[in-house]
């Protein structure tokens, strides 16, 4: 309903006089630039600041680190005065600021001063920022904001002229190399700040209001991957009650002609990007001022000027013309579309202001009083000239919707409401499992089945930078069980790119704070955790509790609450300030996350086979001596630990390593392994040793390496009591070269008392055994004393008899007897055993590159040798022996033709020489042949000695690299995870306002659902002011100043409008308290209890927004996210309203369009009007242009009013063309509404509507219900005609006086026409309406 002057229609029935007039305005801002004479030769516009001063502008600049001023008394003059040196040295690259003739600057030593131009004295404000290069942006003479980079990130501080400092809690993160793209203005008590997080990219804004800093938001909210536009801010100023941001818009183009120009945009909160935008194609980087009738866009050495128009609130007489004589005009108005205007004027009225895009204000006069009928924008101006007449024909549309119709989005603008997710962590559709094996619980607590594995889940809610993440945990009591668990934000993980865990992580553990219990706050970068800070916190076992982390613009806070209590404990509060590290891996892809690590003693294993009974582990230090461990899902018990330190580092297999026969060896510790040189079956025979000169040369053997013979055994018996018998270990040369004795290497002896009279193996223990070279040796039995050379005489009764083998002549050993000379007795062999040690290790030999450190050969026995790379990777061998330096290597000096090979000649003179080995050998139990090869890399690991595999019915399998954990049947439990981003919930009003503003609309009229002040008295809850139909809602009000015990807030989910809240039997209350806390109450069967209380950490002032959506109840204060409560008890109850406790009063401005809009993208190429229509869809939201050109949007029709006795005709039209009796709304939720009366009366008329925008099933149901009601009302239509009632607008409910009685109808469209001729004078309306009954 149009607003008309009081009494305007008081005397119009039956007769009246009429006329009309049109006022045309050309509101365009057409700038022309001119270059200024620049006495300093300045180039960078971001080094200066400017502000209105008297009748002109005062400018300041940092030129060569000195302050210069320019006092422009007449900005329109051709010549600006020269810059004047203020004789003040400035900090390098600092930028001074000016406001109200007060100049703020950072001097050369970094102190910040102000100086009242021109005659004041510098006053020191602060010395706190000497370490930084500061950009100053004063908003008044008493407040100045400073912006500077610290650790690469932007900080912002509010300074007062008295030196008080208040720092913004956050940081500007991004690709910022200068702080100079920064400015601030004050408007209506709020200070608006602008800073860039990309130098040529995006502009962030935040505000400060009565002690509260808001969160940041983007001036131009681009799609996350959009690179179409870049906007580099120049400056901000305030003109006509609006913030004017200037800067340079650059557009991405692949053609070699850049698209870039300077623009202005009006704000704050929503910023225009419509038809009125352009300043100059030159890169001026100016600041906008309105001085008298001119706009000045002042750059560093260029100024652009434009006549001011009504666009900036100035009614410029040169841009306006009034036409009083109209032949006729018509105005058609229908719901949710632009009004259509046409008019006819005399050609004589032609004027430059009457042009396309001119604004035309249509006013009507009835009985001498004027009223505004419409504000339109001309589409066409047609000058007709025909034989009958000369006329000026105009057509146009109501101006706001025309802007929407003509505006086409030039990029993808992306808008999001708060992401909300509360879920059981086992819900796979809501909580994504990244790592760890989790149980399948979807009702009881979820547990991580793994031990010592990082179990990570993340929330599937929309990604965001920061937010609130919390989870409910319980940890069990168990020995050797020390869990870690917590919550994460900005979490990012990309398996395809092999990027590990990233984000911010708050972990509780019993060692997280200086070794004690507490919270550790980590920065997680590609899987590497870096501790940022920690705090002490003890949490009882077996008790449900919450951990919560928030991240807002760099401020990280961690909280803790027992589930049984209502209040949170703040544990950590810090600002993320890591140099060179952003607080997110991908700023647009951060998620809320949950972390659990069921920690028991553990170590990594490289893997082992399914039958291995040693279990290689990286370290055994934390393992008990015997325990059950779990590897993957297999339980294994062990009963021994191989402690010690393995060989560190990689061990490289050397395929050329070879132990040649007779190789020498330098490793004195490697004294060989026991060998048996001779053994086996034989055919017994006897040979007596009874002569003093008798020698029995026993077997010979050829050693394969250095050998230390320690024992030699023969089958002997004594006869009588012979003298001792000696066994010489004799070199092969003994029988060939003199003196013979030099070839006796060592010997052993036995006496008759130790030998029986029948054959038995008799051991000669070699005295002083020595290493013997790999050549031929003999064991010689004799009774000659090796020390003295004496020997007994012949004794036929007392002698020794040796068992000989008379049946194996082919054995390599020969018997030689000495009897006045050497001779050989062929065909006789002696069974014997030579025991000793040689340089061959125990097990299978593996050569390794490089010598090791000297150590005992059993040092690493039973350690695990693990192939970590190359052939055989994953194989594990058990170490049985170790030779830290391999035998010397034979270096042949010639080549051999096959089948000969150099190994056949190793050690032989003339074939080469020995070289000291640079290898080591390791011996293993398992045969590595065919497994390892060139390129094999080993690591040596200690081991657990397994006693049983596959314990408790688990499957014994091979394992790859994984953890070996001491098994405990224990896990941290979690049964609820919640994530909320910080973006304020957008209601329909917000997004329509944003869309309209983008299109250039600056005036809006949104109906308020609740505006009446609500109050109470001391000590009581007042009667709520209820609104129906608001199970979900977004309430809005200004925070009042509260005193002791007072609270204000929202009551919701009530099923009735009970004045006394105690009479309700269900509901919630979300309140702000006098202590700057938020409270969440629940009513259960009439009893109210407080569920939760949270202190956001800042005072309450400014606009409060409380959003209740299903089970989430979020609060924002002055643009800053405060908190989200959660409860799912009451899912219905459609009454919500304001509530007050105590003698306080709150005045709401609760929008009638408070339905939440989850996400909306202004797709590039989409027209604004189409976007608006798509957004509204079939919802009962109505809009049209108001008479003053504002976009008027409402959901509730104004109260019905009577149209007087002005109708001269009417048609009553019955139709079922649009009828429906059943409506089904389908979107994410499906709901169907049936009107059974209509079903009976009209039959089955089904209608399907799209409810993709509905937030839940209830909203879908409401959509269906309203659409059906709307359809039902269209069965009975009216088309009255009569004298115009200019109040009537589409969707008004009016009462028609018809011959059959009064009828209440809803106006769908109305056509006004005024025709003034000598023989005809009319101001009529034709209405298209429908029965209001039931709608």
């Amino acid at each position: 309903m149009r607003t008309l002057p009081v009494g305007f229609l008081s005397d119009v029935e039956n007769s009246r006089s009429i006329s009309a007039r049109l006022t045309f305005r050309d509101n365009r801002l057409v700038f022309t630039e001119r270059v200024l004479a620049d006495s300093l030769g300045l180039a960078d516009p971001s080094t200066a600041d400017a502000a209105p001063s008297g009748t002109g502008i005062l400018r300041v600049v940092n030129y060569s680190n000195a302050l210069y001023t320019q006092d422009i008394t007449d900005p329109s003059s051709i010549l600006y005065p020269d810059w004047a040196d203020a004789s003040i040295s400035l900090a390098v690259s600092s930028r001074p600021g000016v406001e109200g003739d007060r100049i703020w600057y950072q001097d050369s030593i970094g102190d910040i001063y102000y100086w009242d131009y021109p005659s004041g004295s510098p006053v020191l404000v602060t010395s706190s920022y000497a370490a930084y290069t500061v950009t100053l942006a004063p908003v008044s003479t008493s407040v100045c904001y400073i912006h500077f980079l610290d650790q690469g990130w932007g900080r912002i501080v509010r300074l007062t002229s008295a030196g008080a400092e208040t720092e913004w809690q956050g940081r500007i993160y991004g690709n910022v190399v200068t702080a100079q793209y920064f400015d601030a203005v004050t408007l209506n008590g709020e200070d608006h700040l602008y800073a860039a997080d990309q130098n040529d990219g995006r502009l962030l804004t935040l505000k400060y209001y009565e002690g509260i800093w808001s969160d940041t938001s983007y001036v131009i909210p681009l799609d996350v991957v959009d690179e179409t536009s870049y906007f580099r801010m120049a400056y901000a100023s305030v003109i006509d009650g609006k913030v004017v941001i200037t800067g340079r818009l650059s557009r991405q183009t692949e053609y070699d002609v850049p698209v870039a120009f300077d623009i202005y945009t009006f704000g704050p909160d929503h910023y225009t990007m419509g038809r009125d935008l352009f300043v100059s194609q030159e890169d001026i980087g100016g600041k906008m001022f309105l001085i008298d009738s001119m706009l000045f866009y002042v750059g560093i050495n260029t100024v652009s000027e434009a006549d001011a128009t009504m666009l900036v609130g100035y009614d410029h007489p040169d841009h306006k013309v009034v036409v009083n004589d109209l032949h006729s005009w018509s105005l058609g108005c229908a719901g949710n579309t632009s009004g259509q205007f046409s008019a006819s004027l005399a050609r004589s009225e032609e004027d430059a202001m009457i042009r396309r895009n001119a604004e035309a204000l249509l006013e009507i006069n009835i009985n001498g009083a004027w009223a505004t009928m419409a504000t339109v924008s001309l589409d066409t101006v047609t000058a007709t000239d025909d034989m009958d007449r000369q006329e000026l024909l105009l057509s146009g549309r109501s101006s706001a919707i025309k802007k929407l119709s003509m505006w086409e989005s030039d990029q993808n603008y992306d808008y999001w409401s708060q992401a909300k997710l509360s879920a059981h962590p086992g819900e796979l559709e809501n909580v994504i499992r990244v790592t760890g094996l989790w149980d399948e619980a979807d009702a009881g607590p979820l547990e991580l089945e793994d031990l010592n594995v990082d179990g990570v889940l993340y929330m599937s809610a929309k990604a965001s930078r920061g937010g609130l993440m919390r989870a409910k945990f319980q940890k069990p009591t168990a020995d050797d069980f020390s869990p870690l668990y917590g919550v994460a934000l900005n979490y990012y993980y990309n398996t395809e790119a092999e990027i590990g865990h990233n984000g911010l992580l708050a972990i509780w553990g019993d060692d997280q704070h200086s070794g004690g219990a507490g919270i550790g706050l980590y920065y997680w970068d590609d899987g590497v955790m870096t501790l940022l800070t920690s705090a002490s916190l003890s949490i009882p076992d077996d008790t449900w509790h919450w951990l919560m982390m928030t991240f807002q613009d760099g401020l990280i806070r961690v909280f803790y609450r027992l589930d049984s209590t209502t209040t949170w404990t703040s544990v950590i509060s810090m600002v993320f300030d890591e140099e060179d590290y952003l607080p997110w891996k991908r700023e647009a892809f951060g998620r809320g996350g949950l972390y659990i690590r069921n920690r028991t003693p553990y170590s990594m294993t490289p893997g082992f086979s399914s039958n291995s009974m040693i279990l290689p582990v990286e370290s055994t230090a934390s393992f008990p001596t015997s325990e059950t461990v779990v590897v993957n899902q297999e339980k294994i018990t062990y009963d021994g630990i191989l402690s010690g330190t393995p060989i560190p580092g990689d061990l490289i297999y050397d395929p050329d390593g070879y132990t040649a026969t007779r190789a020498t060896h330098n490793n004195s510790y490697f004294d060989g392994s026991e060998i048996v040189a001779r053994d086996g079956a034989y055919i017994p025979a006897d040979r007596n040793l009874n002569s003093s000169a008798s020698y029995l040369f026993g077997p010979s053997w050829k050693q394969t390496g250095l050998t230390m013979v320690t024992e030699i055994k023969f089958l002997l018996k004594r006869n009588g009591s012979p003298p001792p018998l000696y066994c010489y270990l004799v070199h092969d040369h003994y029988d060939n070269q003199a003196p013979q004795q030099q070839y006796v290497r060592s010997w052993g002896s036995v006496s008759y008392s130790s030998v029986g009279t029948s054959y038995s193996w008799v051991t000669f223990t070699i005295t002083n055994p020595v290493w013997t070279s790999p050549t031929g040796y003999f064991a010689m039995l004799t009774m000659r004393n090796p020390s003295t050379g004496a020997h007994p005489g012949y004794d036929a009764s007392n002698y020794w008899t040796v068992q000989i083998d008379n049946n194996n002549l082919e054995r390599p050993g020969v018997i030689r007897a000495y009897n006045n000379g050497w001779y050989t007795v062929e065909g006789i062999a002696v069974p014997f055993q030579v025991l000793g040690r040689n340089r061959t290790g125990t097990g299978y030999e593996i050569y390794l590159d490089g010598r090791g450190s000297p150590c005992e050969r059993d040092t690493y026995n039973n350690f695990s040798l693990v192939v970590t790379d190359g052939p055989g990777k994953g194989s594990v061998f058990t170490v049985t022996d170790y030779d830290w330096q391999a035998p010397n290597q034979w270096v042949p000096n010639q080549e051999y033709e096959a089948p000969e090979k150099w190994q056949d000649y190793a050690g032989l003179s003339g074939h080469g020489s020995w070289a000291t080995s640079n290898l080591s050998r390791i011996f293993v139990q398992e045969n590595p042949s065919g497994i390892i090869g060139a390129g094999t890399v080993f690591r040596m690991w200690p081991s657990l000695l397994v006693s049983e595999r596959g314990v408790d019915g688990t499957l014994s399998t091979s394992h790859g690299e994984t953890e070996v954990s001491v098994y405990r049947d224990a896990s941290v439990q979690t049964d609820l995870v919640q994530f909320y981003s910080t973006e304020p919930d957008m209601m329909m009003e917000d997004i329509i306002r944003e869309l309209g503003t983008k299109a250039g609309v600056q005036d809006f009229e949104f109906d308020q659902a609740l505006e009446t002040a609500v109050s109470s008295t001391a000590g009581t809850w007042g009667a709520p002011s209820y609104l129906p139909g608001r199970k979900n809602f977004i309430a809005r009000f200004n925070a009042p100043t509260l005193s002791s015990s007072q609270e204000v807030g929202v009551i919701c989910r009530a099923t009735a409008q009970e004045p006394a809240i105690a009479d309700l039997d269900q509901g919630y209350m979300i309140t702000l308290t006098w202590e700057n806390k938020l409270r969440f109450y629940i009513n259960t069967l009439g009893t109210w209890i407080m569920l939760e209380e949270f202190a956001p950490g800042f005072s309450f002032a400014g606009e409060v927004r409380i959003s209740g959506q299903d089970d989430a109840f979020s609060v924002w204060v002055s643009g800053r996210y405060a908190y989200t409560f959660h409860d799912a008890t009451w899912a219905d109850g459609e009454y919500a309203g304001m509530i007050v406790y105590g003698a306080a009063t709150v005045t709401p401005n609760w929008s009638d369009l408070d339905r939440r809009k989850d996400n909306y993208i202004f797709d590039m190429g989409q027209r604004g009007a189409q976007l608006l229509a798509d957004m509204i869809g079939q919802r009962r939201i109505y809009y049209h242009d108001s008479q003053t050109g504002a976009l008027k949007v409402f959901r509730s029709r104004p109260a019905a009013y009577d149209v007087g006795d002005v109708l001269i005709a009417s048609n009553d039209i019955q139709s079922d063309g649009a009828a429906a009796s059943r409506v089904r709304a389908e979107g994410y939720n499906v709901a169907e509404y049936v009107d059974y009366d209509l079903l009976r009366e009209e039959g089955n008329l089904f209608k399907l509507i799209n409810a993709m925008e509905a937030n839940d099933a209830w909203e879908s149901y409401e959509e269906a219900r309203k659409v059906l009601l709307e359809a039902a009302s269209r069965t009975s239509n009216y088309a009255p005609v009569g004298f115009a009632d200019p109040r009537i607008e589409p969707n008004d409910q009016i009462v028609l006086s018809l011959p059959d009685g009064d009828v209440s109808v809803i106006v769908d469209e109305v056509q006004f026409g005024m025709d003034i001729a000598s023989d005809r004078v009319t101001f009529d309306m034709e209405i298209g309406a429908r029965d209001a009954e039931g709608s």
Partner: protein
């Protein structure tokens, strides 16, 4: 009181049979659905004359218009000056048709012939 009018600076005689003043009050009257009279008035009162201007083929003297002069005046799409019989003050008027000139003689171009041209003269 003159025996002529002055139109567009030319004098013409008018026909006594039909020349008369006109006062026009722009308005529309109708009956509403309730049977009441409904009148909408336009602004102002339109004053003028209606009747026939007598235009001779040949000018009777200096200052007097001919049929040719009258035709030129009537073709103009702007207001022209007009002085009534009873006035000495010229006002701007719109001269409106339809013009249905009638010749007094079958010899249209006879020098003695006169044309009678009905007009509506309304003050601008």
């Amino acid at each position: 009181m003159n025996n002529y009018i002055t139109l567009d600076s030319k004098k013409y005689m008018t026909s006594s049979k039909d020349w008369a003043p006109v006062w026009l009050k722009p308005a529309t009257d109708r009956i509403t659905l309730s049977g009441e009279m409904d009148v909408t008035y336009g602004p102002g009162l339109i004053v003028g004359y209606t009747g026939s201007i007598i235009a001779p083929v040949t000018s009777p003297g200096t200052g007097w218009g001919t049929v040719s002069d009258l035709k030129t005046t009537l073709a103009k799409r702007t207001a022209v000056t007009f002085t009534a019989h009873d006035s000495s003050t010229a006002v701007n008027v719109h001269v409106l048709g339809p013009f249905n000139p009638a010749s007094m003689s079958p010899m249209w171009d006879a020098s003695s012939n006169e044309w009678h041209v009905p007009v509506r003269v309304l003050e601008a």
